[in-house]
């Protein structure tokens, strides 16, 4: 199986967020970046599916700045085989990100059997990218998935909805699945894993390479501000 995982790099949750001087984004110079926590579940699920289906490959894809490639290296240290980075600003909108991910997957030359992602990125919390990507690729998809089982062609997944209720879906692959906490327990990267990851292939592409331009911009954001402080009671 050709398995793809979308991983985003987000500021460490302890990071102090400071709007940039002109309010156009945040100060990114002193941020420590980590792999989006939900994406660890996606990487783990990819490795579990790979282990159950001999001959499968796991490719990680990320759209973002090149400053730091922590998230991709971590995914490869956990066991992913190779990685694609589409170099771009860290504040593209969901539509552009999804279009760039689609372009990177196509550039890899492999037809996806399964695409995994986190259910949401903890910095922008849009919960959009997986659904947009699936719609662009015309693939069935299920989001907020807490249970996964099945073969290389048919899977059963559980989607968590309000009140902890679960919707159980039967899905024919290829498909896109967005993972929530509870689906598995992500492994830690081992030291040999980290050493090996340094030698695994990481291909860098530009937005132009994947056919994304300014004309694809759908969302404009501005006026970044700190929240109004509640007076201590």
């Amino acid at each position: 199986m050709n398995i793809f995982v979308c991983v985003k790099q987000v500021p460490d949750t302890e990071t102090k967020i400071v709007p940039s001087g002109d309010g156009s984004f945040i100060e990114t110079s002193s941020i420590k970046w980590i792999m989006n926590p939900y994406d660890e579940f996606a990487v783990e699920q990819a490795l579990l599916v790979q282990a159950a289906n001999a001959g499968s490959t796991v490719t990680v894809v990320r759209v973002g700045s090149v400053k730091d490639t922590e998230a991709l290296r971590t995914a490869m240290a956990m066991g992913a085989d190779d990685a694609f980075l589409v170099e771009a600003a860290d504040n593209l909108d969901s539509y552009m990100i999804a279009k760039a991910l689609k372009g990177a997957i196509e550039k890899s030359g492999k037809t996806p059997d399964l695409i995994l992602s986190g259910k949401q990125a903890i910095d922008d919390d849009c919960l959009q990218v997986p659904q947009i990507l699936a719609t662009m690729l015309n693939l069935p998809s299920v989001s907020v998935v807490v249970g996964y089982e099945g073969s290389a062609t048919d899977i059963t997944v559980k989607r968590e909805v309000e009140g902890g209720a679960l919707e159980v879906y039967g899905v024919k692959l290829p498909a896109m699945i967005a993972c929530n906490k509870g689906i598995n327990t992500p492994r830690y990267a081992s030291l040999p894993g980290i050493m090996k990851a340094k030698k695994k292939p990481l291909t860098t592409l530009s937005l132009a390479d994947v056919g994304v331009s300014d004309a694809d911009k759908r969302v404009k954001y501005s006026n970044f501000q700190l929240p109004p402080e509640k007076p201590p009671g």
Partner: protein
């Protein structure tokens, strides 16, 4: 003037509260509402009160239960015939899953989970928190129309003086198309209560609850005041409560009128999920617990003593 559609889910015989919040906020505009399936009379009455012009009941095969593809195809087909400028929905489980799909079918953009917005003439401008509420920014949309927006439940509040609308009911045939992710079963959740994200009052327990059985005292209080029970991540990771109950950065983001935190220290990741609550009450044995810096009312003491006393007082007060 902008032509606006609000997509709503049905919840028993009513629409979800967030639909009425959105309608109330759009007073002065012509707004249609669409739902999948038959719309009960009570729901239509509520929609009329809050200003809906036309109420479209979308009907077709394979739409009895939510499926991402079925609902997306049906809604896309309906919207394509309507020349709408904006499509709104609540940022519920369903809204968050469905709307990005439909937006993409129109190559359009979407503003996610705004907590407030204005229409400047024909143009939408929203506000949304990000980085877990550590910062806010303005969101605007451009490119192909319609533009799509989801709104966080309980954030706008109800319009106290809504303008009534005709709410003329129309039936529209829609096509669910090919469904490749088929729903096989729905497993009911542990709680029949309102979901955390929609609850008006939340009582949450932290690591100090010590075990799952002790959550009973929070449930007793919740039953008296009509609250939903939540938990911190420490409580969830220790197995006292399921992940569906977790409030915080990697759990649910909530905005109730009243949030009662019992034995929760107030870590930044917990605050991220509940800091926009209107009134925060904290019960903690440690007077220096960070939660007290965000609380409107703080009680320094043992939750196992204080919670039962509060429950009794609420019972007296409410005559229960």
């Amino acid at each position: 003037m902008a032509k606006i559609l609000v997509f709503t889910e049905l919840h028993g015989s009513h629409v979800k509260g967030v639909t009425l919040e959105i309608l109330g906020k759009l007073a002065g505009h012509t707004v249609d509402v669409a739902a999948i399936g038959a719309i009960p009379a009570e729901a239509i009455a509520d929609l009329a009160k809050f200003g809906a012009a036309n109420v479209h009941s979308l009907k077709g095969a394979n739409l009895e239960k939510y499926t991402p593809e079925g609902y997306a195809n049906a809604l896309k087909g309906f919207i394509a015939g309507g020349s709408y400028d904006y499509v709104f929905a609540g940022a519920t489980s369903l809204g968050k899953d469905l709307l990005p799909r439909v937006a993409t079918m129109f190559d359009a953009g979407m503003a996610s989970e705004v907590t407030n917005f204005i229409m400047e003439g024909d143009k939408f401008a929203g506000t949304r928190p990000l980085f877990a509420g550590k910062c806010f920014a303005k969101v605007e949309l451009q490119g192909p129309k319609p533009h799509f927006v989801t709104v966080r439940p309980n954030a706008l509040g109800m319009n106290a003086n809504p303008t009534a609308g005709a709410a003329s009911v129309k039936e529209d045939a829609v096509d669910a198309g090919a469904i490749r992710a088929m729903i096989k079963d729905i497993v009911k959740g542990a709680s029949e209560k309102l979901d955390l994200t929609e609850a008006n009052i939340i009582v949450s327990g932290g690591r100090a609850m010590k075990d799952a059985a002790n959550f009973k005292i929070l449930e007793e209080m919740a039953n008296v005041i009509g609250a939903t029970v939540g938990a911190s991540r420490a409580a969830v990771d220790s197995g006292f409560a399921p992940h569906a109950m977790q409030v915080g950065q990697t759990g649910k983001t909530v905005a109730p009128s009243l949030y009662i935190a019992c034995g929760i220290s107030g870590a930044i990741q917990h605050l991220a999920g509940m800091r926009t609550s209107k009134v925060i009450v904290a019960i903690n044995t440690d007077p220096d617990a960070p939660i007290f810096t965000k609380a409107d009312y703080g009680i320094v003491g043992d939750l196992f003593t204080i919670v039962p006393i509060m429950t009794q007082e609420f019972k007296n007060l409410l005559g229960k």
